[in-house]
Amino acid sequence: METVNVKIRMNGKEVECEAGQTLLQAASLSDVYVPSICYNPQLGPIQTCDTCLVEVNGELVRACNTVVQGGMDVSTESALVKEAQMESMSRILKNHELYCTVCDNNNGNCIVHNTTEKLEMDHQKYVFEKKPYEVDMSHPMYRYDPNQCILCGRCVEACQDLQVNETLSIDWTRERPRVIWDQDVPIDQSSCVSCGHCVNVCPCNALMEKSMLGEAGYLTGIGSDVLEPMIDLTKEIEPGYREIFMISEMESAMRKSRIKRTKTVCTFCGVGCSFEVWTKDRHILKIEPTVDAPVNGVSTCVKGKWGWDFVNSPERLTKPLIRRGDTFVESSWDEALDLIASKLGEVKNTYGPHSIGYIASSKCSNEENYIFQKFARSVMQSNNVDNCSRYCQSPATAGLLRTVGLGGDTGTMHDIASSELVIIVGANPAESHPVLATRIKRAHKLHGQKLVVADIRKNEMAQRADLHIHPKPGTDLIWLSAVTKYIIDQGWQADEFIAQRVNGYAEYVASLSKFTMEYASEMTGLSMEELIGLATLIHESGSTCILWAMGVTQHMGATDTSTAICNLLLITGNFGRSGTGAYPLRGHNNVQGACDFGTMPAYFPGYEFVKDEAVRARYEQAWNTKLPEEPGYDNHQMVDGIQNGDLKGLYLFGEDMAFVDSNSNFVEEMFEKLEFFVVQDVFLTRTAQFADVVLPAAPSLEKDGTFTNTEKRIQRFYKVFEPMGQSKPDWMIIQEVANRMGAGWNYTHPSEIMAEAARLAPMFAGVSYERLEGWNTQVWPVHPDGQGTPILYEDKFAFPDGKARLYPVDWTPPFVVDDPSFDLHLNNGRILEHFHEGNLTYRSEAIKHKVPGAWLEVSPELAAERGLEDGTKVRLTSPYGQVKVSVIVTDRVKGKELYLPMNTMDENEAVNRLTSSYYDKHTHTPNYKEMNVKMEVLEPKGESPLPRVNHRFAQRNPQIGVKVVEKWNRPDFEPVEETIRKEREEHGQTHSNH
C-alpha cells in the first residue's frame, strides 16, 4: 500500500508525516514530546485528560485525535500550550495524591508521575480532594483506590472495547465521578473476568495488583498508621514537586536492582502472549505486558496475569523419585539416571527398539521437543515419538496438509482481526483463547466485523454472534459441504482463484451432489434459512476467516470435517491474502512447536517424512548414526501396543496422559502393565503416579527456550528463577538420560539446540536466538535471511505445482451408544479460569476463590424434567465409567445436551472416565465429543459448585468506551481553553490597573 505524505510545520520546523496520522503520532515520530496520559497506542484517543493539547494555527486542539493536514502550523511549546498543560495536569492532580516515594507504583513507569515531572510542574493549582468512596479490596487479585483515580478512563476503554468484557464504566452523573463495576457492585461480585486489562493500562496506582502492595518499594510495606502521617508530613514540608520527585527518583532507582524484569511467553494456551514477569527473589510481584508484545500488546487473561503461583508451590517435585514397593522414595540424580539407563537399555536389548514409546510435551519448548525426538530416533533407534496434539489438533493439521500443504494457521491474529467475516466452528476462544477472542470481540463491536458461531453450546462468542447455529452434534461436515454446494450452485465461487490456483474442482463439485439443502437441513437440524443466510454472508464478505478447535477435531470424522472447512475457503478464494484463511486454534502453548520440531512418528522437524531417504540421509549425517526408516507408533497406538504386548517401556515428559487421554480407566490399566515407565514433570501428576522413576522438571519460568504459538510465531522466553530444589529444565534432563545411554552430547544452552534444528530443517533456516532477542519474533517458514511468512500461500500453495487441492470428503456418523438408556449427550471442554485439568492453576488461591472445582452444565429444560437445581449432585454413567458431579443450571446448554468441563484434579469428576477409545480414522485423535450418558440424582440439594463471586452470575454493562461526552456535558466542566482564556483576561485586567 502506498502512503501519502503531508507536510506540516511543528515548532517552526518542517515535518513530513503520513496522511491519516494524528499529531501525537507525528510528534512522537519526530521525537517531540507531547504529554499524553489517557492515550495508549492500543486503546486510541480517549480524550479525557487534555494533557496533549497543542496549538494549531492559534487554536488549542487535542493532539491525540487531530489528524495531520498539509500546511498545519503546530506548536507544542508555546506559552498557550504550556498554560494548557499546567491546567490539565492540575485538574488531574486534584484527583491524585502524589506520595510517590511510598507508592508501590513508583517503578519508573508511572505515567502520572512521569508526566508531572516532565512538565516541570512545581505546584498544583487545585488542592487534592479525597473522593467519598472506600478503596475496593473485594477482588482477590487487584484493588481499586478511587482516591488515586484520575478518571482518565483507560481501564474502561480497555474493559469495554479491547477485552470487550463490558464491566467497567465511569459514572459521570455523580458529584464525584468514579469507575464502577457493572451496576456499581463490589468488584468481586461483578462480571469481571479478572483478565487484568484495567490494571495493565492504569497510568497510576488506582488499579493495582494486590501482589505489588507493600512489596515493590522500600518504604511501601509500612502500615497505614505510620504511612498516612508520613504522607501528610511529606506534603507538609513539600517545597514543590520537583524536590519530592528527586527523592522518589532515587527510591525508584534503588528498586531497579531489587525488582527483576524478565520477558516470558505465557504457557496457558496457544495464543502466545508475552510479557514481563516482575520478581523480587522468588516472589512474583506482577505480570506486566507492554504494547511491544507482538501478539497481545497490553492484553492478558486471568491465567496469564495471575496463574503463576504453582511455580512456588510446596508440592513441586524437587528430587528424583524411585518406586520402591508402594511408595516413591526420593533419590539422587545419579541413582535415578543409572536406573533409567539400565532399565531402558534392558527393555531395548530384550524386546528391540520398537518396544519403547516416547511421549513429548506440548507445554515444553521447541528445543526440548527437538532434543527428545533426536534422543528417540538417534540414540534409541525408534520413531515411536508423539505429543499431545494427537488429542486435539492432528485432524486439523491433516486437513490442511491435504488441501493447502502446511499444517498451521494460514495467517496471524492481525488477519483474524481485520477480516470482514469470522466463522467459529466448535471452538470457544472467549474461554480457551481469551486474548485472541478479544480481537474478534473488538472488531465485531467497533469495526463492523460479522461473526458466525457454530456450536452446540451458547458460549460467550455465540451470545455475541450475528448468527449462532446449533447443529446436531457431529454433523458439521454436512452443513459445511451444503453451504459450499449452495455457493457453487449460486455461481458465487471464486472462479478466477480456482482456475489459477486450485486443482480438482470438477471432482470436488461432483462429490458435493448429495449435500443438498434438504439433506443438510434434515441431518443437521438447521433450517434452510440459516444455511442460506450463512452462505450469503460468506458471499457478501470481502474476506472470511474460519476458526475451529476441539468441537471439530475430537470426532470420528474430524480430519474430513477439517478438510471440508479448507474446501469451503478454497471455493470462496479465502486463502493467501490479508483477512482470510484457516485457523485451527492450538490449545497449548506449544502444540504447534512440538509438532514442528519433530515429536511426531512420521515426521522429522519441519514436517519432512522419516520415510524420505534424502531427508533421512541428511539427519543421519548430522547425527552420525543410522536412523529407523518406518514411521513409529502414535500415542494411541502406543497404548494399544501395551495391550497387545508390543510396547514394554514408556518415557513421557510434561503430559498428564492418564487424565487427558480418552477412556482413562483403560489408559491407567495399560500404564499398570508397563515394565518400565519414566515420567518427567513439575508435579506428581496422575500419570506420574504410575511411573517407576519420576524426574523433577523445571517449568518455563525456570529456563530459557522458545515456543511457537497458534500463528506459527516463534518467541523466546527467558529464565526468571533458578530451578527449584534439584529440579532441572527438561532439555537438560533429556540430555543427561541420552548421555547415560552413550550419546555424548554437550549442549550448554537451548540456543545451540535451535541452531542445530535451523541448520537441518529448511522450514526454520533463518531462525536464531539473536533474531528472536527481546520482543522480536519469527513466523515460519523462516527464510535463511531471517524473513518470516506471516501470511501463507500469497504466491503459491505448499505443493510441488504450487496449487491447492480440493479434497472430496464424506460424512462419518458420530459414535452413539447403542442403548437408549444412555439418553443424554455429553459435551466437554475447557473453562476460562483453569488451564486444562487444573494441575497448575489450582495452586493459585485467588483463582480457586473464583472457581474451586468442576461442575456439570444442564439445561433449564432438563433441570425441570429431572428436578435439578444448582448444587444437585448427580452421577453420570457411560459404558466406560462414571463420575459424580454437582450441577449448574444454565441456558448455555440446551435440551438433553450436557457440558462437563475438564477442570478437575479429582479422578471421580474427570470427564475421561466417561469417554471411549473410538477415534478419528485418519489421525487416531479420540472422539472425546461423542458420548452418551445416563444421569442419576444422588443428592437433590447441595452447595453450588460455582460460587456467587463467579463472573458467570453477574450482569454486564455494555457501552462504547468511556463516554467522554458525558464528562463534557457536566455543568461543572469547563474546557481547558476556556479556563485559560478567562485567566488571561483577568491577568490582563490586573496589569491594566497598574
Binding site: L233, K319, L321, R323, R324, L684
Partner: protein
Amino acid sequence: MAKPIRTIERIVPTKEEAQADAVQQILDALSANRDTIVSFLGILGELDQAGVLDIGHGVLQNRKSLEKIGLEFINVANIPGMLKNVILVSQFLGKLDPKRTEKLMAGLGKGLDQAMQEQEKPASMWGLVGQFRDPDVLASISTALHFLRGMGEELRTREERST
C-alpha cells in the same frame, strides 16, 4: 503391576544434618572473608563498649511504637516548619547569583571595616548631609533603596494573592 502411588518418602534431613549443613555454609563464608570479619568484630566490640549496640537494639526492638512516636514528635516540635524553612533558605541561596553575592559581601566587608574605624567626632546634621555628596555613600544608599523597592513589590503581590 505398577499401581498408582501417591505417597512420597521425602528425604528430610535430620535436625543435626540440617544444622551441620548450615554451620558448614557459615564457616565457608567466614573463612572466605577472614580479614573483613576480623576487623568488623573489632568495630562491633568498640560499639558495644560505647553502649551503642544497646541503644540500637532497643530502638530496633521497639521500632513500631517508635515510628509513631517519632512522627508525633516531628509534629509537636514543629519540625515540618523547620524543614520547610531549611528548604526555603537553601532554595533562596541557590537562586542567588554568586557573582553578585560576592560583590555584595565585599561591599559589606569594606563597610564594616570603615564602620569599625575610630570616628574623629560625632558628625553634625550638615556634616551627614554633606557626606551624601560622597559617591561611595550615594552608591550604597541607592542600592539599599532599590532593595527596599524590590522587597516591597514582592510583599505587596504576595498579599494580593493571598487575599
